[in-house]
């Protein structure tokens, strides 16, 4: 269930799904905080849509967020992507993270509109939670673990 491939931006995708009786988790790593957020977004998309067909973005969403700490920022970022998918049928493809710190983030996310036939929904994610949430800086980069409510 791990993602191991080159993303459109050339970075190594690095996440795996975690087992949970009722729901699902995601473990993500990244060389930088920016990579961590990017991989987490790709992991969440894979959780919902599985492998998606290749395609270029034809829409953009600008995202500006703040959090009290890096944990809250990560949850808020992923929940923002869920919100865009649910309400505006926005499937994110590229993640241009312009500015990121432990408490704020600005990104220009390129994507396309969800269309039946082109994409298939594996499962609906209600929300990304704070349950057993960890975001840690290690010697060789960043690691996060989080659980979603299905």
């Amino acid at each position: 269930m791990a993602g191991q491939k080159r993303s459109a931006r050339g970075s190594l995708v690095n996440f795996r799904f975690l087992e949970h009786t009722a729901d699902m988790g995601l473990e993500v790593t990244g060389a930088t905080l920016e990579d961590l957020f990017l991989h987490a977004a790709e992991g969440l998309r894979k959780m919902i849509l599985g492998e998606i067909p290749a395609g270029s973005p034809d829409r953009e969403e600008r995202i500006t967020l703040a959090g009290e700490d890096v944990e809250e920022l990560l949850v808020t970022w992923l929940n923002e992507l869920l919100f865009l998918f649910e309400t505006r049928r926005f499937v994110p493809l590229t993640f241009g993270i312009k500015r990121i710190g432990r408490e704020e983030l600005t990104a220009l996310v390129g994507g396309t509109t969800f269309a039946e036939g082109r994409f298939r929904v594996l499962r609906e994610v209600k929300a990304v939670t704070y349950h057993l949430l960890t975001v840690e800086k290690k010697n060789r980069g960043w690691r996060a673990r989080l659980y979603v409510d299905l």
Binding site: E68, F83, T87, R123, A127, L132
Partner: protein, 480 residues
């Protein structure tokens, strides 16, 4: 963490307070269930809830308990108005997720030759995929505010159902303390596009038959008879509720720090019931609960419409009327006898159902002799149960009981188990027609992924916190 747990009787277990626990834990389970629980963190979560300020009575785990976020799923806890707290983690993301049961005048034989068409019509009529919505339901901002204040009554006022429906809903389908102005723009936007939609995961619509009656008197009061066609609707407040929960988790995280509440788990963040943050959460939660009541009311109307079209009978001949509608993710002000006096308490039920006893004034007059109907769905391949509330539940669990089967298998494990099986075809062989919107839904929702709900309600009955009335068996399952 190794937790000491003492046996009280065949289906009751006590966790004596340790560490920062302010009260004991009380878990309803067989020994087999308990051993399985020790493999995950549900018992630890029962203990975590027991550390919260102002908890009254034990931190309770129902027989369908499993590992949730903050509170366990299948958890009940009551809090004192002055000393206690309210926690969004004690309600869950899907605020007022609940179950509604409709009865009909039809016997199962009257659906012969119509079942496939009925399944297709329900699947088409009730939106259940991502972004799917009824074209004839456009919700203005003003309308949405009315939904959030009025709940199911809004839907009835729009012609979706009758006033009689409202009498058979917990709280008559409306928590009056809702304040729509407290909801974020995001919550409102999610709500506008998702009112009248089923959602996915374990949410469903089932056409069932009454396979067995265990209590004739109660079944008669509930209008149930053997071989009768019934419909079960399981859904909640959709993205609006998820957003309210997420928004208030941020507020509560700050509030916990502000009021010096020590938390064993961030997802348990909370605020005093007497604080502005606590009051605002309850008022926003009430809006989401009202949204869910309206959601189930709209879906009821479309179920009726689907039956009328396929069975070619009018409303009076079909007689699709509401038996009852219960919330199983909610926090509510209720009055309960405790320590020899009546106390007003905020009761959190997360994956637990209110189960008020015979004679309680808050249940409809028609059911007052037998107790409040309690609706316990199982998995899509087996059965569901109808129970009634008891005095024992009122005394011991703040009038609460279980809410469903409870998962025992992760989604990954369920998919592995389902590999090589043609699930829809196998269910069809058992006489169950299934339609699902999500590609992974059927594999992840196989029967083996859940506890046998018969074991769960067996514990409930043995413990006396619910009384089994009837068993329902699925004929058609619509999954999101």
């Amino acid at each position: 963490m190794k937790i000491r747990i003492d046996r009280i009787d065949a289906c009751r277990w006590r966790i004596p307070p340790f560490g920062k626990m302010r009260t004991e834990g009380l878990v309803f389970a067989t020994e087999k269930m308990l051993r399985a629980l020790e493999q995950e963190q549900a018992l630890e979560q029962v203990c975590n809830v027991a550390t919260l300020p102002g908890i009254v009575g034990p931190s309770i785990g129902m027989p369908d308990i499993h590992w949730g976020y903050g509170f366990p799923i299948g958890g009940v806890a009551a809090f004192d108005p002055a000393e206690g707290v309210v926690s969004p983690g004690g309600v869950g993301y899907d605020i007022n997720c609940g179950v509604r049961l409709l009865r009909s005048r039809l016997s199962v034989g009257e659906l012969n030759g119509l079942r496939e068409r009925l399944a297709d019509t329900l699947f088409r009529n009730i939106p259940c995929g991502v972004g799917s919505q009824r074209r004839d339901l456009k919700l203005s901002r003003q309308d949405e505010n009315r939904v959030l204040s009025q709940g199911a009554r809004w839907a009835v006022n729009q012609g979706f159902g009758t006033l009689e429906d409202l009498d058979r809903i917990e709280e008559q389908g409306c928590l009056p303390e809702g304040r729509p102005e407290l909801l974020s723009e995001k919550a409102l936007e999610r709500g506008r596009s998702q009112l009248g939609t089923l959602g996915s995961g374990n949410h469903f619509i089932e056409v069932d038959l009454v396979a067995e009656i265990y209590d004739e008197t109660a079944a008669t009061a509930l209008g149930l008879f053997r071989d009768q066609v019934t419909v079960t609707i399981h859904t909640g407040s959709r993205g609006l509720g998820h957003q309210v929960c997420d928004d208030f988790l941020r507020v509560m995280h700050r509030a916990s720090q502000k009021y010096g509440i020590e938390l064993p788990d961030r997802q348990l963040c909370c605020a005093p019931l007497s604080s502005p943050e606590g009051k605002e959460y309850l008022a926003a939660m009430a809006c989401a609960a009202n949204f869910a009541f309206a959601n189930r009311q709209l879906i009821t109307a479309w179920v009726r419409e689907s039956f009328e079209r396929v069975v070619e009978k009018g409303p009076a001949d079909l007689g699709l009327s509401v038996v009852y509608d219960v919330c199983h993710n909610i926090a509510k002000w209720e009055t309960h006898p405790f320590d020899g006096r009546e106390r007003r308490l905020c009761v959190h039920r997360k994956g637990a159902t209110r189960a008020f006893p015979p004679g309680h004034p808050d249940i409809p007059a028609v059911y007052r002799a037998v107790g409040q109907p309690v609706l316990i769905p199982g998995d899509m391949g087996r059965y569901s149960y109808v129970l009634v509330g008891t005095q024992e539940a009122y005394k011991e669990t703040f009038g609460s009981t279980c809410h469903g089967a409870g998962r025992v298998m992760s989604r990954h494990a369920a998919k592995k188990e389902a590999r090589g099986h043609r699930i829809a075809a196998e269910l069809a062989k058992q006489g169950i027609i299934v339609r699902a919107a999500g590609y992974a839904t059927l594999a992840e929702e196989i029967s083996a992924a859940y506890k046998d709900v018969a074991e769960v309600v067996g514990v409930v009955q043995e413990a006396g916190i619910g009384k089994i009335v009837a068993r329902l068996q699925p004929l058609i399952v619509i999954k999101g």
